[in-house]
Symmetry: C2
Subunit: 249 residues, 2 copies
DNA sequence: ACGCCGCCTTGATCAAGATCAACCACGTGC
DNA sequence: GCACGTGGTTGATCTTGATCAAGGCGGCGT
């Protein structure tokens, strides 16, 4: 990937990959996996590094293996909106398009499993499993993007913050085993600025609303990035939407 | 489709279909088209009719043939956000999911080419062309959803209105032949309320900003729904983003 | 130790847009 | 004709969140 000198990691076997069953490769069988294994390259990026700039040619695409990256776009005067959060197993880039529509920035240190775009496009053309998985992932992302539009367009600052915390709490609980329950603790992978960019707010408003939620006992916060949710239902309630965050089937 | 008694139209041959080359079926060859032709049904809906309610089971899916439908979701207290505009050739529904994540409402009278979900899912599993086309369409929709997130999160009311008008003007110009040029006239397919829902504003703000743009000579407006853009570049300028609206390749 | 920088918080003030409230221009039904 | 409903506009006022400004805290380099 351009503009950076990422470290190239060792070559992890696909079979041992932590995201094997959730990434683009999830539906591929052993034989196809071997081919993917042969053409993939691991790259690492440090927190803050930009993997791609909006408008720039994307010669490679890939999957986040660990860490968090963000998708964002800026207006000419500097106003910035994050339009996606890329978590482990999420796909970076899109087949059939040369230019990146958005900036891709590492929010934490990130490990990415990359492929040369050209090679990957060829693989996809021959692998229904790969294509099917990409379709499913894209449909899911579209749903969450639309969900986010509701938040951006209609929720209050407090509801936005509560929604974001609920999402991170839920994902975090899911990662570490259980369903979101009471008393769960997690740390925020985002700075206040990143939260603001994600929610369409300023950092001051984010900070104030975090303090307000703490004051109201919805969250506990020893350090700015260490959050405890004593009552998950209460947090969801503050998020504004009745359902538990849009579980569909 | 449930909750409605749509009129069933005559059976238009796929080969004569106005959206033949832009809809899901765009990549399919003659032999597959015959199969689609055999299982499709046309349905019509009147302006204001709801095709699906969020959370409801979707037994059928399909393509908008003509008219405009909207995708929207409401918060429990009634705040409403439109999350997508479905124009001719756009796809309604998603394979692999039973429940509709959003309300689908006809904004004008709408003609839809529908398939039973089960049958369509089977077709997709067997047709790479269909699947590939759906992937491309979904990726495009994802990009525009993200574009819209930037608008919702960071643009001012005036910029939002200008952006929407620019988009509609551009699409309208494209439909009727030429590239967006000066002095183009079109009529808004949306009420002020629909515009407000789309832009995350109130109808009063929409109305005021429309008046302001008129006062400033950016648009002309004899009737509320009849717009003339004397200087397309000036309109784009008001929209805030420098590029001409995100043309990518 | 010190200063500095990044990240966060808090306060005071301001302004964009929401809300509340009339009112207009229509079409439609009686 | 008139009453009524829908969609749109405009004005006055209020509220939310942005902006401007100051300061706290922890880490890090010298």
């Amino acid at each position: 990937m351009p503009n950076t000198q990422p470290k190239i990691d060792m070559h992890l076997r696909c079979g041992d990959c932590p995201i094997r069953h959730r990434a683009v490769c999830a539906y591929t069988q052993a034989d196809e996996l071997v081919k993917l294994d042969a053409i993939k390259t691991y790259k690492t990026f440090k927190a803050g590094e930009t993997l791609f700039w909006a408008g720039e040619d994307m010669a490679s695409i890939g999957s986040v293996v660990n860490g968090v990256a963000t998708l964002a776009r800026s207006l000419p005067d500097g106003r910035r909106q994050m339009v996606g959060l890329l978590l482990p197993s999420d796909f970076i880039g899109r087949p059939g398009r040369k230019k990146a529509p958005f900036d891709v920035v590492a929010a934490s240190d990130v490990l990415v499993c990359t492929f040369q775009k050209k090679q990957f496009d060829e693989m996809i053309a021959k692998s229904p499993a790969l294509e099917r998985r990409l379709l499913d992932m894209t449909l899911d992302e579209l749903d969450s993007a639309r969900e986010w539009m509701l938040l951006l367009g209609r929720k209050t600052a407090r509801e936005k913050i509560a929604s974001l915390l609920a999402i991170i709490a839920r994902r975090d609980a899911a990662m570490s085993k259980l369903t979101p329950t009471d008393g769960l603790v997690f740390n925020l992978p985002l700075t206040r600025e990143a939260m603001a960019d994600y929610l369409g707010l300023t950092i001051e408003t984010v900070s104030r609303q975090m303090s307000a939620l703490k004051r109201d006992g919805i969250i506990e916060m020893e350090e700015a990035r260490r959050i405890c949710v004593p009552d998950y239902a209460a947090l969801l309630d503050e998020a504004g939407d009745d359902s538990d965050g849009g579980v569909l089937d």
